[in-house]
């Protein structure tokens, strides 16, 4: 029986990153939600894994998995960055079957990386069958660093993701844009579309059970391209809670909180800039 650890190409000393998980499905559950493009940039630090998927220097999805979610997380450098094909990685992580988190099986995972120019090695084991994958890494393209300092945040909402998902799924697809409106005077968080059959408003009352907190320093109303919002649907579907923040430029940041095994949380954030053609409406 091939020894799991003897699969390494060289001794453990040369691994600059080594992760072990008893259930690989957790990581594939999170990464699947951000896989709206093939290319992903991994940034690993002592605080955990950050995986970024970006589209055309505009929308960006980031998944954060803290070391506590793993059985073992060893990193020998301050920051390790590499780029790889996320779709290929997900095929490998799911090699033993459906990526349904609820199904009985749980493949064990060992991931390691030896540095620039080497492939990411993944060993998966289930019921005695071992699958050994080597995924080519390429030098990463720099990703946009959205600086979302709290100083610029005008509106902030924490709400149930189930409710927001229902709203998003029912948005009029004939509308090019979706508008978010918040103001200290209004009783609602308003989501508006402008489609062929008319203008639709969805009003979520601030007082309703689905909204946990809502803060708004001044009235804010921005439009976003509906197509750019699409990558937020998958993370919304797996999250328990979502926070929405809008800054003075109209940049919206969704942060999705996803509960995984042993009551740990993973986070995915989504950045989307406002649609520039729109003139702000006070």
């Amino acid at each position: 029986m091939p020894n799991f650890s003897s699969q390494s190409t060289s001794g453990d000393q040369s691994h600059i990153l080594m992760i072990r998980m008893d259930n690989a499905k957790i990581i594939s559950h999170i990464l699947k939600a951000i896989n709206f493009k093939e290319n992903s940039v991994f940034c690993c630090t002592k605080d955990g894994l950050k995986v970024t998927v970006e589209d055309m220097k505009s929308v960006q999805l980031n998944a954060f998995i803290e070391p506590v979610v793993f059985q073992s997380y060893v990193i020998k450098e301050e920051e390790i960055k590499f780029q790889l094909n996320l779709t290929v990685l997900l095929e490998c992580l799911n090699v033993f079957g459906s990526n349904n988190l609820q199904s009985g099986t749980s493949p064990a995972l060992k991931l390691y990386y030896n540095g620039h120019g080497t492939p990411v090695s993944i060993l998966l084991e289930e019921s005695g069958v071992i699958t050994d994958c080597k995924i080519r890494t390429v030098h990463f393209d720099p990703v946009l660093d959205y600086d979302f300092g709290s100083a610029n945040v005008i509106g902030r909402i924490i709400m149930s993701s189930e409710c927001l998902k229902e709203v998003f799924c029912e948005l009029d697809s004939t509308s090019d844009t979706v508008q978010f409106s918040l103001s200290p005077d209004s009783a609602n968080f308003r989501i508006t579309t402008f489609g062929h059959s008319g203008t639709y408003h969805v009003d979520i009352p601030k007082e309703s059970d689905v909204i946990e907190t809502l803060h708004c320093t001044s009235a804010v109303s921005f439009k976003y391209k509906l197509t750019l919002m699409k990558p937020s649907i998958k993370p919304l579907g797996i999250a328990q809670k979502v926070s929405l923040r809008i800054d003075d430029t109209g940049l919206v940041c969704f942060q999705f909180m996803i509960k995984v095994e042993d009551n740990h949380n993973c986070y995915i954030d989504f950045y989307c800039p406002a649609d520039v053609d729109f003139e702000e409406d006070e």
Binding site: P119, V129, I130
Partner: protein
């Protein structure tokens, strides 16, 4: 030509339906060959290219049918070859599937509206002790005698190595994923009972290891063959039988042969190897 068979055992009915369903999902058309002792379901993807996969299922008539009678084309050629078109079978299959309580299922070769049909008569129990007979006619084509040679029973495989495959569920899933990464995979088996499946592309290389497999036969120390993942994946996706044993034979560079064995039937899948570019 005549054919008439009656099944009364619910397990036999269920198994027969399972095999019929599986075979008709594996190809656009399926051949049923009836002899005095056995029934054969044959699916061959293409008649023209000799290197295409072949699926050959043998059923022991004695096990399935309580009553069985057939008269072939002639006394010399005492066999019947019928061709099913898969879609025609689907409706009958759904009816058969719910006939778990059927008292009996009769299968007959009939002529309806001057077309040959395979007729299924399903005898269902009904509320007040009466019987309810549901009849399905599946149109079939009679395969002319001159084409019978296209469906010759394949020679018994003399493999370089033959191993038991207990982890078929995992193998199915691995192949399904590998097919999304590459077109071809290399299957490698050793006389120590290690089976590996490997794909390699520019972006990724993936190898799955199945160890401690029971070796049935070994002529060589090891054998490997390169196969088309899509074909194998399609077959495994539709194979829904519950065999007692699955054996994998490899003939160096030439063939991967899967043999699904049960008391009453055997299903063989012949997948020719591809020459490496």
């Amino acid at each position: 030509m005549k054919f008439r068979g009656k099944m009364i055992d619910p397990n036999c009915i269920k198994q027969f339906i399972g095999i019929l369903g599986c075979m008709t999902k594996l190809g656009k058309s399926c051949i049923l060959r009836i002899t005095t002792t056995d029934l054969y379901f044959i699916v061959r993807e293409s008649q023209t290219i000799s290197a295409s996969p072949l699926i050959w299922c043998t059923l022991d008539e004695g096990h399935f049918f309580s009553e069985f009678g057939m008269e072939g084309l002639s006394t010399v050629d005492n066999e019947i070859y019928l061709e099913f078109v898969a879609e025609n079978v689907a409706r009958t299959l759904s009816a058969l599937k719910v006939s778990g309580t059927a008292k009996s299922v009769k299968i007959k070769l009939t002529k309806k509206l001057s077309s040959p049909c395979l007729t299924f008569e399903i005898d269902l129990p009904s509320g007040s002790n009466h019987s309810r007979l549901v009849v399905h006619d599946i149109p079939v084509n009679l395969v002319p005698r001159r084409l019978w040679n296209d469906y010759v029973e394949p020679e018994v495989v003399d493999p370089d190595i033959s191993v038991h495959m207990p982890q078929l569920r995992l193998m199915k899933s691995i192949i399904e994923r590998m097919k999304n990464l590459a077109n071809m995979a290399t299957l490698h088996v050793t006389s120590e009972g290690l089976l590996t499946l490997t794909v390699e592309t520019e972006a990724v290389s993936v190898t799955s290891h199945f160890d401690n497999l029971h070796v049935e036969k070994q002529k060589e120390e090891e054998a490997s063959v390169t196969i088309e993942l899509k074909r194998l994946s399609n077959f495994l996706a539709h194979e829904q039988l519950n065999p007692q044993k699955v054996v994998c034979d490899v003939l160096q560079s030439k063939l991967m042969h899967l043999n699904f064995l049960s008391d009453s039937y055997s299903l063989q899948y012949f997948l020719p190897g591809i020459n490496d570019q």
